[in-house]
């Protein structure tokens, strides 16, 4: 047997992956940061403007409303998605008839293209032709503007995001549950722990890492929501339902303001990293305590 453990051999084997990583991740990020300090319209030569784009952001009302909407989507996702996915995973990991089919059914939205998810939900939530308001109207109630109004769209986007991502997060929890050592569960049962006590004092603590991974995925996912808003409302009316990425897209490609668009991209990236790291640091402190 030949061991390829010398440093140059390791570097050689890592090189293709590093190259791909650099081309598709490092270069775009460096490119974005570079142009975020410029007045660039995508065609002419970029002009260095220092931190002007970042300063402009602090006075940009649409940026702040997009940030607020993104936080609403994130809040809805964190409050609903993690507990719901975990509880469903617990339920479906038990001896239930048709659990496999149910898991597949719940996972299905995760493999549907987000643009199609948006289209499906337009026909459900549209205030005029949507199924929900059609049903409410048949009961004699006037349904609200779930999408396209001035207030409910971010909540609706959050709910659709939960629907779309539930199966994926559930699968991670399900895999974690299946990997729990059986002997610990059996020992707790022999000690007389009820199902609730097993869940509260054995399962949840042992799945702490899985909770961490899922939460980070949900946080970064919420900061990347774009297609849902794009299809549901296009960010309207007058940007009231824009989230950060849809606003960045608008600024960059519709307004041809690449410099400001790149600054927005950098801020979105930093927000995702900061919130994720803050959460991980919180987890680490709690674990130490």
């Amino acid at each position: 047997m030949v061991w390829l453990s010398r440093r140059w051999q390791l570097l050689l084997m890592l090189a293709p992956a590093l190259l791909v990583f650099s081309v598709y991740l490092v270069y775009p990020v460096v490119y974005s940061v570079f142009y975020s300090f410029s007045d660039y319209n995508g065609v002419s030569k970029p002009k260095y403007v220092g931190a002007t784009n970042y300063r402009a952001m602090t006075h940009d009302d649409v940026f702040w409303s997009s940030l607020r909407n993104t936080m609403v989507v994130l809040g809805v996702a964190l409050v609903l998605l993690i507990p719901l996915a975990f509880l469903l995973a617990v339920l479906l990991s038990g001896p239930i008839k048709g659990a496999g089919a149910l898991r597949a059914l719940i996972f299905a939205p995760a493999i549907v293209a987000p643009i199609l998810v948006g289209l499906i939900w337009v026909f459900i939530l549209d205030p005029h032709i949507g199924l929900v308001n059609g049903f409410l109207s048949s009961l004699g109630f006037a349904g609200p503007q779930w999408i396209g109004g001035t207030s409910l769209t971010p909540l609706s986007v959050g709910l659709v995001y939960v629907w779309q991502t539930l199966g994926f997060v559930l699968t991670i929890f399900y895999a974690g549950l299946k990997m729990l050592p059986r002997d610990v569960m059996e020992a707790s049962a022999l000690d007389g722990a009820s199902r609730w006590q097993q869940l509260r004092y054995v399962t949840v603590p042992m799945l702490q890492e899985t909770f961490g991974i899922c939460t980070v995925l949900v946080i970064t996912g919420a900061f990347k929501v774009f297609e849902l808003v794009y299809v549901l409302t296009g960010g309207g009316p007058v940007h009231l339902s824009d989230v950060l990425v849809s606003y960045m897209y608008y600024v960059t490609f519709r307004l041809q303001n690449y410099g400001y668009g790149m600054a927005l991209a950098v801020v979105i990236c930093l927000l995702g990293v900061v919130v994720s790291l803050a959460y991980l640091s919180f987890l680490r402190r709690r674990r130490r305590a």
């Binding site: 775009p28 970064t220 307004l255």
Partner: protein, 449 residues
């Protein structure tokens, strides 16, 4: 992936996991930033690398044959006339197309001939990306074939960088049957339009079908109204900064739009529906009017309401400014040619022949056959011009006493300003902006050059 994660959880390798998670989180987050650049990784255009007898024509429709049959048929007829010249016709949706042309300009891979919004064309011409078409047009005696207004908007100094792709004839299509059903006459003034809107709203019928989702530009009839409130007289001042968009005349117009919205003229779901859905609502008889242009004449003609539709340039205003009998018949976005074409004599010759064919009488007749008005002075003939919907558009254009503005207002300002104009109009229609706020939103976006 899930199984792998589960195994790791089972192993309780906490320290390793923490660092993995940090890297994972950071990698996932940086993907957001990389989205922009990834978008530009493939222009989808053929560039200039083809044989010198090959030209690439890039258009703003994903399916040119279906969505823009006039251009498709012109290309087919051209290929028949010049079998030695190959035309590579490509297309993508308008937003994607604009992105790709922007990125292609950066990488000097622009297609030979392409459609582009005038605001982007102006940036490209300043950057030296576009060919001066003066000699091509004068060589084929084409310059004289265009009404002067059709070329003026695409000139920068002495450089003629573009030619109008099609004529931009816009207004309101109306369904005669719906109006007759509720004993309503076609309005001529704005006050009459408000009365019609109130009457139709009381019967649960949408007056003007509009769709803002991903198509906020679909406010053509209202852009013509800006001309009825003195846009053309104010244009020079607006562009040099001596006149503000936030002026009393435009304030009155936006007040009227608000009045129309309060009369229930617009669909309640105009934020979520797109332009195509607005067209569908009209062609399925669910709306009395449609804000659109001549490009929709063929679709409307072939729909179930085709025999009951007429074309109306829009209302006149008793408190308007200047000429009220205005019908929008201005140059649409231009066709432009990459500056790199001149580097290859054979290609330049092929492009010259293509443009000369496009604007010849034979080319313009193909436009007419596909329910498009000619952009040259060519007088249309044939059966297509007799089809009721298209004929009503032609009748509006030649109605005695009616004239056309030089350009549609949104096409003479920057992309930022035109988008602000669209959003301000839709904002008032949707009731989320007051006229004063809407005007304040647009004013700072029109900056002196």
């Amino acid at each position: 992936m899930a199984t792998g994660l589960g195994r790791r959880v089972g192993a309780h390798n906490l320290r390793r996991l923490s660092s993995l998670r940090v890297v994972g989180a950071a990698a996932a987050a940086v993907l957001v930033a990389s989205t922009l650049v990834a978008c530009g990784s493939d222009t989808g255009t053929a560039g200039n690398g083809g044989g010198s007898g090959t030209i690439t024509l890039s258009m703003q429709n994903a399916n040119v044959e279906k969505s823009d049959p006039a251009t498709f048929q012109i290309v087919q007829a051209f290929k028949k006339k010049y079998p030695d010249i190959k035309v590579n016709l490509v297309g993508q949706p308008v937003e994607q197309h604009e992105q790709q042309m922007t990125i292609a300009a950066q990488s000097h891979t622009l297609p030979d001939v392409f459609w582009v919004y005038n605001s982007l064309a102006q940036t490209m011409v300043k950057n030296g990306n576009l060919l001066d078409l003066t000699s091509i047009l004068s060589g084929g005696q084409l310059t004289a074939k265009f009404p002067p207004s059709m070329l003026a908007g695409y000139r920068s100094g002495s450089t003629q960088y573009g030619v109008p792709y099609q004529a931009l004839v816009t207004g309101l299509y109306y369904n005669k049957k719906i109006l007759a059903k509720y004993n309503l006459a076609l309005p001529t003034t704005f006050d009459e339009l408000v009365q019609v809107a109130k009457a139709l709203h009381s019967h649960g019928v949408t007056t003007i079908s509009q769709g803002a989702n991903q198509s906020s530009f679909s406010v053509w009839a209202f852009l013509t109204m800006l001309d009825r409130f003195g846009w053309e007289q104010k244009q020079a001042g607006l562009l040099d900064g001596s006149v503000s968009y936030n002026n009393d005349d435009f304030k009155r117009l936006y007040g009227h739009i608000e009045e129309l919205a309060k009369a229930g003229a617009f669909p309640s779901n105009m934020t979520t529906q797109n332009y195509q859905q607005a067209v569908d609502a009209f062609t399925s008889g669910k709306a009395a009017m449609l804000d659109s242009g001549v490009w929709a004449a063929g679709t409307i003609q072939d729909s179930s309401v085709g025999t009951d539709v007429g074309f109306w340039p829009g209302p006149t205003f008793s408190d308007g400014v200047g000429e009220q009998k205005l019908v929008m018949n201005a140059p649409s976005a231009p066709l432009v040619v990459s500056a790199d074409v001149k580097k290859n004599k054979k290609k330049l010759d092929a492009v010259t022949k293509f443009l000369q064919f496009y604007y010849s009488d034979a080319g313009q007749q193909i436009l007419v056959d596909n329910a498009q008005t000619p952009v040259t002075t060519y007088k249309p003939t044939g059966a297509a011009a007799q089809k009721p919907v298209f004929a009503s558009v032609l009748a509006a254009l030649s109605a005695p006493g009616w004239t056309s503005p030089q350009a549609q207002p949104d096409l003479v300002v920057s992309a930022e300003a035109s988008n602000a104009m669209y959003e301000s109009i839709y904002g008032v229609m949707q009731g989320v902006l007051s006229p004063a706020k809407a005007l304040k939103m647009v004013a700072p976006t029109i900056k002196p050059a």
